[in-house]
Amino acid sequence: MNAHHTASPPAKVSGMQTMRDKWNSLSRVQQWAVLIPLVVLIYLLPVLNPPLLTTEPNYNFPIAMFDVARYALIAIGLNVVVGQAGLLDLGYVGFFAVGAYVAALFTSPDSMLHKLPYLAVLPLAVVVTMFFGVILGAPTLRLRGDYLAIVTLGFGEMVRLLADQVPALRGNSGFQTVGHPPGTRADGTALFNQTDGKPWYWLAVTLVIGVLLLVGNLERSRVGRAWVAIREDEAVAEIMGVPTFKYKIWAFVIGAAIGGLSGALYAGQIGFVNNQKFDVTTSVLFLAAVVLGGSGNKVGVMLGAFVIAYLPLRFSGIAEYKYLIFGLALIVLMLFRPQGLLGARQRLLAKGREAYQRLLGRPEQISSDSSLVAEPGKEAGA
């Protein structure tokens, strides 16, 4: 690599990298010119019901698209924790469950709590899950990565077991007729109902865009740089003055908030919450969405969410084997493309490399594009 003074590491990422560079070199106006029609198209998808893309007749297409959007929201949230801060969270479904239960408790007639309108419950679900994020994060975030994975796994399971144990959470019988946003159709029925996925899809996509903007801004801020620093090397980050514990808690809390939001959204659309949907398998499925798509890359994780949520609905023949297929995909991907389908965006490191080059007049020595890419000569088992 001696002669090339490139900012990006050679081979491997180059294809993706040039696309990204091209995109970044476009002016804001040009970017909007591409983005706005794209967003409009995304909003119109369930109405257009394109022939090749459609999941019908097996599965209602707008509801399928809602599922995809819901998974995208979850993947963006989990990506903050796993992709940005590099904390392997296997209990993310716990936050999702908390969000769903908050929505159910405050809107379902089966609950004896004071009722609130659904739209007021969404922010409430976010706040409550943030609180749970702190409760789980404070004692556990001092742990090493692999221990953290197990403890979060235990947390996810604990939420489910508590839903079994605490009678107020109604275990298997659950909560019927969870609330939904206001609005009625011409014929007087509710705008948001269980059979028509379109309003729900639009609501979910709007939330996804809002969350994307928020998370994108966070990533470009001091907080985001702190997360990347922690992911790359926690000890070094600490030495350089990053209060690692604080930012790890932040990553956890923000991830939890988004998980809670998607949980409340899910509860509203399904209209029913019990303790059956929040098992570890679901948690691993969420993680698979992030890892398959490319942890650390927002577009990547949305692609991963699309793969995880959409493919089993589109090709109903594989639905039965979906867990097997995704498990195999994880193994194969880790072997041949550990950074996922779309690798992590590495502006920070790219900047670091440029600075290094200017300083020493030779290309980078800074290794590792993400915590998922091998460092030559360094063995995990060592």
Partner: protein
């Protein structure tokens, strides 16, 4: 605020704090905890060995275990036993059948562990992948193994096959000790002693300890690292297979494809509790976990057993992450 209190109090006795029950049940809980704990300890040894050598939490170990459960179950099935009433067997016959099931379960689990190592982990080691990649691969492997069982046998639990019913042999402080409990505890201890002797006294075991201590130096000294790693997975798998048979003999329900998860995470808790990477720690951690779980069940009520185990895991990791006896196979006495 009042609202929240009434909300939680709804349905009243969902959680007890009944110390009296613990006092009454103390010896029963202890004895039952010991036999349950021996099963945890056997599985925990697999986590601990692999962790000691590779610094890897082998997530797929719970599935290695559940494969053993199915191995034992279908051995019973193959011998002509069916779910239903427990048959009357002579002692000789019983021992023969149990030994046969033990061997099959151990072989199935051992083979599963070695296959996982070969197919999933070894290629990653060749590439020098970072720890997070190993962890995700392990999760993927666990998923795949679980789904293989699911596709083969479906989601329903297999109905239990019993070869013997527990009979009281003697009592301690009024608590009865059954033949089943004695068999499980004794057999587990014997197996763990064998494993301990193997690691600490034999040439191959010395290789395992050497790799755990310093893989590079061990390789330079002529230890075949790949073979040691395979051996480690094999031993862990064999022990998990033995645990699988005991689990099947003891569990109120039969085998289920999901059954490995809970036991796996508890065995991991046991390994951490005793000090991961530490063989004696795994035994101690398993027994303590088994007992504490039962005490917790007596005090708080039936459904709290698993929650007590999870809380114990978090508490240990918070206050003494190196466990009771301290970490690391490498630092074990030579």
């Amino acid at each position: 605020m009042n609202h929240v209190v009434t909300f939680l109090a709804d349905g009243s006795d969902w959680i007890n704090f009944d110390v009296g029950a613990l006092r009454d049940q103390f010896w029963n809980d202890t004895i039952e905890g010991l036999s349950q704990g021996s099963i945890y300890a056997l599985v925990a040894l697999g986590y601990t060995l692999v962790y000691g050598v590779l610094r890897l939490i082998n997530f797929a170990h719970s599935e290695v275990f559940i494969f053993g459960v199915f191995g034992a179950y279908f051995t019973f099935f193959g011998l002509g036993f069916r779910p239903g009433p427990t048959p009357e067997l002579g002692a000789g016959e019983l021992i023969l059948y149990l030994a046969l099931a033990l061997i099959v379960a151990m072989l199935v689990s051992g083979a599963t562990a070695v296959v996982v190592e070969r197919v999933a982990y070894r290629p990653l080691r060749r590439r020098g992948a970072p720890p997070l990649v190993f962890l995700i691969t392990a999760i993927g492997a666990s998923f795949v193994l679980q789904q293989i069982l699911f596709i083969w046998r479906g989601g329903n639990q297999e109905r239990a096959i019993r070869l013997m019913r527990p009979q009281e042999v003697f009592t301690i402080f009024g608590a009865s000790v059954t033949n089943l409990q004695i068999i499980i505890v004794l057999a587990s201890i014997v197996l763990m002693l064998i494993a301990n002797t193997f690691i600490n006294r034999t040439r191959l075991g010395r290789g395992v300890r050497a790799v755990a201590q310093d893989p590079d130096t061990a390789t330079l000294m002529g230890v075949n690292k790949e073979r040691v790693i395979m051996l480690t997975f094999l031993i862990g798998g064999l022990l998990a297979g033995a645990a699988a048979l005991f689990y099947l003999m003891k569990a109120p329900t039969g085998a289920s494809y999901q059954g490995g998860f809970l036991l796996g995470i508890k065995a991991f808790t046991a390994a951490v509790l005793g000090g991961i990477g530490n063989l004696r720690g795994a035994l101690l951690g398993g027994l303590i976990l088994g007992i504490v779980e039962n005490y917790g069940q007596s005090v708080f009520g039936g459904g709290w057993r698993d929650i007590v185990a999870f809380v114990l895991l978090v508490v240990v990791l918070m206050f003494r992450p190196t466990g009771i006896l301290g970490e690391s196979l490498g630092k074990a006495r030579v």
